[in-house]
Symmetry: C2
Subunit: 333 residues, 2 copies
């Protein structure tokens, strides 16, 4: 029920995903969803099922965490509990990020050893993408949370993107171990002991390069960085458009390179990031852009299904157990 075009586009996207081999539970008011199903021509599809939820948390809810806690019948709360109860392997929402986050943490529940679930974003840089986390779940964190994020991000890069032994960098403002905020200085030795391929501090300019696979930071800095990338990409595309419409010659030139430019623009648009992954809960959770259309929903659900099949939750639990054991051994010496 969440998103600018909900529920019609969400249901239409789900219908497409159901043809890809997933079984989809649609959560919301039954009557409304049946109408969307009919509009999508997907009535009677045995791989689509409606789960009643009478309440909806609005996109602009001012305290989504509180709403999720108190409104048990909200669609996002019901969806998150389906995962907790084992009726679903994951959930997707194009609604309020805060509500989806709270529902994942409160209703689905955390994997043992995860103090704070984090939002991971796949930044689609060529030749290889970069995972950024936390992209906004936790505005204030402690050093041990950053250690947690390093493990979550490393497993996610392997399971979702096939990057073995992902190079994990700690976002800072100087490359040497002693550089950065107090938080980063305290986190540095913890990441060294996290059982990941920790390559040390990385700077803002390293994020788009091929030198790092997973960038670990607090949710404040990560969210600022993510939105700055979005805003700057939009700004540059606007500037390019001006350059390419400055004269008839420029317009003709534009036509030649337009396919390439469109591809670049698409790669950098938030809709093609594949959504935000909430990592650390006992299920797969993808939060889509509010503007998600049917194709974006299909893509997110397909990614969710792939991530479930790749065993994300079990792999995270295993890695955290190993990291914990390593810490205990180190502590016993």
């Amino acid at each position: 029920m969440g998103g600018d075009h909900a529920p019609d586009e969400i249901v239409a996207g789900a219908a497409l995903a159901a043809t890809d081999g997933s079984h989809v539970l649609l959560v919301g008011p039954r009557d409304r969803l049946e109408k969307s199903l009919a509009d999508a021509g997907a009535q009677g599809n045995p791989d689509m099922e409606i789960v009643e939820a009478s309440d909806v948390i609005a996109m602009d809810d001012h305290d989504p965490a509180r709403s999720v806690r108190s409104r048990k019948d909200a669609s996002i709360s019901v969806a998150a509990r389906l995962v907790k109860d084992g009726r679903a392997d994951g959930f997707f929402s194009a609604g309020s990020t805060g509500a989806a986050l709270a529902a994942g943490v409160l209703h689905t529940g955390r994997i043992r050893g995860v103090a704070r679930p984090a939002i991971a974003i796949v930044l689609p840089f060529a030749p290889s993408p970069t995972v950024l986390l936390d992209a906004g779940a936790n505005a204030d964190v402690r050093p041990e949370h950053l250690q947690n994020f390093a493990v979550l991000g490393s497993v996610f890069a392997r399971v979702r993107l096939g990057i073995e032994n992902a190079r994990v960098g700690l976002l800072s403002i100087g490359e040497e171990p002693g550089k950065g905020s107090e938080l980063v200085k305290l986190a540095f030795p913890l990441l060294e002991g996290a059982g990941v391929n920790f390559i040390g501090n990385v700077e803002g300019r390293d994020i788009p390069t091929d030198g790092v696979d997973v960038v670990v930071t607090d949710g404040f800095t990560g969210n600022v960085a993510l939105k700055l990338l979005e805003g700057f990409a939009k700004y540059l595309m606007g500037e390019l458009l001006q350059i390419f419409s400055a004269s008839e010659e420029a317009k003709a030139a534009a036509k030649v390179v337009m396919p390439g430019l469109m591809e670049l623009s698409t790669t950098l648009s938030p809709d093609t990031h594949g959504g935000a992954h909430l990592l650390g809960t006992k299920g797969v959770c993808i939060i889509g852009h509010g503007s998600s259309n049917a194709q974006a929903v299909r893509s997110a659900l397909t990614i969710a299904a792939e991530t479930v099949r790749a065993g994300l939750v079990a792999e995270i639990a295993k890695a955290l157990g190993a990291a914990e054991a390593a810490t205990e051994v180190a502590g016993g010496n």
Copy 2:
């Protein structure tokens, strides 16, 4: 003596600036500087003067603040003291940012009411630039420091860029007052009382837009944002180059739009930012890119001279006095 091409390019740039109406003091080992002056054909110019400094703090000094404190004869320390002693109105360095920062704070000294000087960067977005501060001087700050930065940034935007009543935004991860980190939540009411045109929280995506003139943040987030912009601009220019070299047709198209693209690229390059301005000390202080060539040095020195003539230090002192008086009156009610 600081920078990749020091001292020859620095002296050559200074010689150009001296023809623009500035009187330039060159600080460093006299013999070495005389050689650079001769190479630049600027011997005997009455507007260029050498001030002896026998020591130099290296670009890669691991603890520049400590070096600046203990090495009184380092060129950057001597330069900063020239300002304190009234022999110069400001200083420029293309050397270690940390050293220039420490020299400004320790040797030039702070304006009354400034707890923490901050680094301001002019981001050259069209149609109007955006001032970002703190871009890296203070990795950890308290809410009252952000209030200080708001005043520094607002005065700087007026004096340096001619923006009257600059719109000041607090960088956060949500637009409403209650959104963000604990730091930002505590700073919000302080910025409301800072005597500036505070427009509330802004997000990363707002930085490149025309909606805000001065973006206030801590030095950690600001430095990450600045370097991310640099890295992303470089990345995109690389991608564009690929698109424009993909075929003979694309190469021909590239020629048509190349002047516009080069202009965009130049606008976004760190060399044309005009340097980093250290705000809040009793003088003008500009820190140039390490790769500064003679033209970049000339440009920075000209900006420094203009900023001195516009009365930056006095204007900051006045604004802080007014803000303080306003707080006292409010406190007395």
